[in-house]
């Protein structure tokens, strides 16, 4: 304990290290892997993302021209963003918010 005291006194006199959460929110860093979104005007429904998704969170229906994406299955590895040939998947830095219901997001091509 005696060798810890100088550090404790220094901590006591310095600013808090933690963030006061509800009043002050921590911004995600620029390279953070967050939410993803499909740009259906660019997508050619090739199913590459469906084949490689490690957690089977993406389902592509080429005939109906629909993509089903489950944000609660997704592990946010951004592999789909990296491999998409059409650059149709955009990755954001924002966390997915919590929700009461586990809803699947549906993207439809016009």
């Amino acid at each position: 304990m005696p060798f810890m005291l100088p550090i404790i006194i220094k901590n006591l006199l310095s600013k808090p290290f933690t963030v006061k959460y509800p009043f002050e929110k921590r911004e995600p860093l620029p390279k953070h892997k967050g939410q993803i979104e499909f740009d259906m005007s660019k997508c050619d429904l090739c199913q590459d993302c469906e084949r490689l998704c490690p957690s089977v969170a993406i389902k592509v229906y080429p005939n109906a021209k629909v993509i089903e994406y489950d944000p609660f299955k997704c592990i946010y590895c951004h592999l789909c963003v990296q491999i998409c040939m059409q650059i149709a998947i955009k990755g954001y830095t924002v966390y997915t918010p919590p929700s009461y219901v586990k809803e699947v997001k549906i993207f439809k091509q016009e």
């Binding site: 304990m1 005696p2 060798f3 810890m4 550090i7 404790i8 901590n11 290290f17 995600p28 860093l29 620029p30 390279k31 953070h32 892997k33 490689l52 490690p54 957690s55 592990i75 946010y76 590895c77 951004h78 592999l79 990296q82």
Partner: protein
């Protein structure tokens, strides 16, 4: 039972115990306050990852094996990727190898700081626990800045390199943070090396002599704390061959020696990262991954030095996208027999400290083990 026969108390330590982050049961046979004999019971968190690895295709497995252990996720995916790359005969670009070393060392520092905090907490040294975890926050920020996530970065590409680069302003930023972190960790050195409270709880507790450590197959800091100069990094996988360093070895073989090994390894890892960052700065921006050509075929092994010791992967493939066998051996499984040898003869109050001194990661160690008659 005759009245002259000695009676012992049987105490279950775990599966739920405040000091254990994960469930494992140690049955302690005690003579009053002294532990006489100990038995271990595993199997509370078996997850069937090896079987899942055979059902997934080999590319998805990179993300599966990252989740064997959260703290050393990069090491697991690195070990698996190295095995598959060996089967495919891929040559990884030099820059990717350096980046792999960087993230592997980042994981090591994260794990050691976490453990040093948990260890201080196990013996009731709350302020030191908070201090170590506060320094760990810098590492988590670095993981987010470079890899994109605070814990599981997933920066190993699906076979053949890495998928993120560190260049431009990020290099300076990383170097600044690491230099700052090194100073802050170094400031805690007197607490570890001189503090009487810390020494009283650790010196001479859980003694593991060198010959016994060799015989029981101790790995990692547990072995290095018993004066065994062993480190898989010395084999020179990834870019370790070009980064010369000496493994940290302590002679005493008690819990205190294992604390010192981990503490000095933290500082050493930060130095290695600083050297890697300097090399990356001098190196020209080049490719960081190569594309695999065909499906893997044949069988191989691969070894990586994890924060807790040697990690071992055995992969058997048959020319299809699905593996025939994936075998994972984590260091905690190797360190359990030495733990059982350390405990007899110790005081009951020292059991939590001794158990934590091997840095148990139970969920990683849970594998299906078939034991024959007579413990064969």
């Amino acid at each position: 039972m005759s009245s002259s026969e000695k009676k012992y108390t049987i105490l279950p330590f775990g599966p739920q115990h405040p000091v254990l982050p994960e469930p494992i049961q140690l049955t302690l046979k005690c003579d009053e306050e002294k532990v006489v004999d100990v038995n271990v019971n595993l199997g509370y968190v078996h997850r069937g990852i090896e079987r899942a690895g055979e059902l997934n295709d080999y590319k998805r497995n990179v993300y599966l094996v990252s989740r064997v252990c959260g703290i050393c996720n990069f090491m697991h995916s690195l070990c698996y990727c190295m095995a598959i790359e060996k089967l495919m005969d891929l040559r990884i670009p030099e820059r990717a190898n350096y980046l792999r070393v960087f993230w592997a060392e980042l994981n090591r520092v994260e794990s050691h700081l976490l453990w040093l905090g948990l260890f201080a907490d196990a013996m009731g040294f709350e302020s030191l626990f908070m201090q170590f975890w506060r320094e760990r926050e810098f590492i988590m920020d670095l993981q987010e800045k470079t890899g994109g996530n605070r814990i599981i970065t997933g920066t190993n590409n699906i076979i053949g390199g890495v998928n993120r680069d560190i260049n431009g302003e990020l290099v300076d930023d990383v170097e600044r943070t690491l230099t700052k972190l090194r100073g802050r960790v170094k400031a805690l050195e007197p607490v570890i090396t001189k503090d009487p409270t810390f020494k009283k709880r650790t010196v001479g507790k859980g003694y593991l002599p060198r010959d016994l450590a060799v015989k029981l197959g101790a790995v990692g800091p547990t072995a290095r704390g018993s004066d065994i100069r062993t480190d898989v990094r010395m084999e020179g996988y990834a870019a370790y061959g070009e980064l010369e360093f000496e493994p940290v070895v302590e002679k005493d073989g008690d819990s205190y020696a294992r604390v010192l090994v981990r503490f000095y390894e933290t500082l050493q890892s930060i130095d290695i990262m600083l050297r890697v960052i300097n090399t990356l700065r001098k190196m020209e921006n080049g490719p960081i991954f190569v594309k695999p050509k065909e499906w893997p075929d044949g069988e191989t092994i691969s070894r990586v030095e994890q924060p807790r010791g040697e990690l071992f992967y055995y992969v058997k493939a048959n020319g299809t996208p699905y593996l025939e066998r994936l075998k994972i051996k984590t260091p905690t499984l190797s360190n359990l027999p030495p733990l059982l040898a350390m405990l007899p003869g110790s005081e009951l109050a020292d059991v939590p400290v001794i158990v934590l001194s091997i840095d148990p990661c139970i969920a990683c160690a849970e594998r299906y083990v078939k034991i024959g008659k007579g413990g064969e």
